[in-house]
């Protein structure tokens, strides 16, 4: 396997930084300042952090991405711009119908500064303290102003110490294992495969601790970084040189969460079904709030399991094809079906994985509190080699539609596009219990598709 050129890949892509604070600085290229903006992009080759390991973790780290509108605004030549994939060129707003971004989440209702054409350049800053990311964001804004860019929205985000998102569930620990990346030795993060004796000689296969017949093979890096072999054998389609290698595509999406609405839905469903509210919530998500998966703990949460990174993702769905332990429509089962797809199984799932690097924004809503109208949610960030094949399939075909799972056109009540008839979830039980969400609890407020160049790619902006 080709070794990863970690010095040329921007950081936070293959391995999350694990910083608790973030700022996202969004900017537009000023009219008539294309040359300066191109120079600014090239100058970022030095301050951005790469995938290369660090001996001492820095106080903060910076990364840069550019949208197709940004490429056009900085004057990237047409022969190069035209080699980018269609969905990236169209931009997120133009893909709204496919993504189910309608009603309150329709692009015309997105927040100021997060609409079509508003985001040319995005600088992500992660840091150990809020002060560190705030100071770095100010530095970036000042540099941008000198570099032909006009800073716009600065979106703050923070990861609570218990890693829980606003609905109360631990989040972000289920990530694909990638061959050649040091952290891949965790069961349950890769492709589920039948374990063979010779797999013990393979560094990219991790045995399951829960099932001796099961192993987990790390995904090939080309699923996430351009220029390397992917699960189909060859390198994924990429733009022309000099942007062809060590880059990736980024989805940046601000998602507002209706926490009070979700809590009300769970409480009402608990009354309707006679189930415990914590079980209803777990059935919707596929995990208990402590992270323990329903497939392994169908009747009660298990915080020890939830905190055990070696076991918390070590499960498959083959033994639960009817969804009696974990509903077939549960959020995590849709977002990463593992071996649950009726056709293709784990091999097919492997072509539609994403690396999530998002973080909550806004203050938590205290338990028992009524809706306070405060903006809170998730800054969703994903990296993938193909936005259309990976992010869009997960969102449009798996979360917004249930056909792949034998659920007809039913959306995921948690994060899918809930239509006028609502999203019904079969919670399991004998006789089966049902709950229907009548509106979406997660509503897009804006975002964009972006390209994250490699370091050499960034430098090349100086000469494009």
């Amino acid at each position: 396997m080709t070794a990863l050129e970690v010095d040329d890949i921007q950081g936070n892509v293959l391995r999350g930084y694990g910083f608790p604070f973030a700022r996202y600085v969004l900017a537009r290229v000023r009219d008539g300042r294309a040359d300066a903006a191109r120079g600014w992009l090239a100058s970022q080759a030095d301050p951005v952090t790469t995938e290369a390991g660090w001996s001492t973790k820095p106080l903060h780290a910076r990364n840069v991405a550019v949208s197709y509108a940004g490429l056009e605004a900085v004057g990237v030549p047409g022969w190069l711009a035209s080699t980018f994939p269609d969905e990236f060129r169209a931009g997120m707003a133009a893909r709204a119908e496919r993504l189910g971004d309608a009603g309150a989440g329709a692009p015309e209702r997105w927040d100021d500064g997060l609409r079509r054409g508003d985001i040319h350049v995005l600088v992500s800053i992660g840091g150990a303290t809020e002060a560190a990311v705030a100071a770095e964001a100010e530095r970036v804004e000042a540099e941008m102003a000198d570099g032909g860019l006009e800073p716009g929205v600065v979106q703050a985000a923070a990861q609570p110490s218990d890693s829980r998102e606003h609905f109360g569930f631990t989040d972000g620990f289920g990530q694909p294992a990638i061959a050649g990346v040091a952290r891949h030795g965790v069961p349950g993060q890769g492709v589920p495969i039948r374990r063979r004796p010779w797999h013990r000689f393979r560094a990219d296969v991790v045995p399951s601790r829960a099932d001796r017949r099961l192993g987990w093979r790390a995904l090939r890096p080309g699923e996430f970084v351009l220029g390397y072999a992917d699960e189909d054998g060859g390198p994924p389609p990429a733009p022309a040189p000099p942007l062809h290698r060590n880059g990736t595509f980024m989805v940046w999406r601000k998602l507002r969460q209706d926490v009070a609405g979700f809590r009300r839905f769970v409480a009402d469903a608990a009354v309707e079904t006679g189930l415990d509210p914590s079980l209803v919530g777990a059935k919707v998500v596929g995990r208990w709030q402590d992270g323990s998966p329903l497939v392994l703990r169908p009747d009660y949460g298990d915080a020890r399991l939830g905190n055990d990174r070696q076991r918390v993702n070590d499960f498959a769905y083959a033994g639960d094809s009817a969804g009696l332990r974990c509903p077939r429509g549960a959020h995590i089962r849709r977002a990463n079906p593992r071996d649950a797809l009726r056709a293709g199984g784990g091999k097919l799932t492997a072509r539609h994985r994403i690396l999530r690097r998002g973080m909550p924004y806004g203050p938590p809503l205290p338990h028992g509190a009524e809706d306070d109208g405060v903006d809170r949610g998730l800054v969703f960030v994903s990296f993938q080699a193909s936005i259309e094949r990976q992010f869009e399939i997960v969102q449009a075909r798996w979360l917004n539609d249930g056909d792949a799972f034998g659920l007809a056109r039913t959306a995921d009540p948690l994060a899918g596009a809930v239509g006028e008839h609502g999203a019904r979830l079969r919670l399991g039980g004998r006789p089966p219990r049902y709950a229907t969400a009548m509106h979406a609890f997660v509503v897009p407020r804006g975002g964009e598709y972006l390209f994250v160049p490699g370091i050499a790619g960034l430098r090349a902006f100086a000469t494009l």
Binding site: E272, T273, A408, R424
Partner: protein, 168 residues
């Protein structure tokens, strides 16, 4: 009993130098409208239209038109021709010997001449027309709603409600 669905594949050579124009026409006429011509024709279960280089044909580029449709195929083709003539002409007009969609007989002959035998086809619901699938989905929705509405009822209440629902 006749099959409810049929499958077909047309692979037609694109005239030299016109492949990009055919691609542009697909993007313009087939991808961007709010309603795909395939949907407008009715009875389309699954369809593909694209320009590609088939293996073994050198550098020749072809238009692939493949679909799983309600049987009989001839009726579906005629509906397509009638509702999407302009969109068809915009793409297939770049193919060799394409006569245009305005002449039904010539269109049928051209399709027949460029049709490939379907070797293996998997159709999600081979014994159901598109209308059957729609009706089944609607029934599924109704049953789901019924199950949710009645989930806390006693057996006797459920029995009564079921009979009322069934007879309604």
């Amino acid at each position: 009993m006749a099959a409810a669905t049929d499958a077909f594949v047309v692979l037609a050579r694109v005239r030299a130098g016109e492949a990009d124009a055919a691609r542009a026409a697909i993007a313009e006429r087939w991808e961007r409208p709010p309603r795909s011509p395939f949907a407008a024709a009715g009875g389309t279960h699954l369809a593909r239209l694209q320009v590609l280089k088939p293996p073994g044909r050198g550098s020749r580029e072809c238009v692939l038109l493949a679909a799983d449709v309600d049987a009989p195929l001839a009726a579906w083709l005629e509906r397509m021709r009638a509702v999407a003539a302009t969109a068809l002409d915009a793409v297939l007009g770049h193919c060799a010997f394409y006569p245009g969609a305005s002449d039904p007989a010539a269109f049928r002959r051209w399709v027949a001449a460029n049709r490939l035998p379907v070797g293996f086809s998997v159709i999600g619901s081979p014994d159901a027309t598109l209308a059957d699938v729609g009706a089944a989905l609607a029934l599924r929705d109704e049953l789901g709603a019924f199950a949710e509405r009645t989930q806390r009822m006693s057996a006797a209440e459920l029995h009564t409600t079921w009979r009322e629902w069934r007879d309604a």
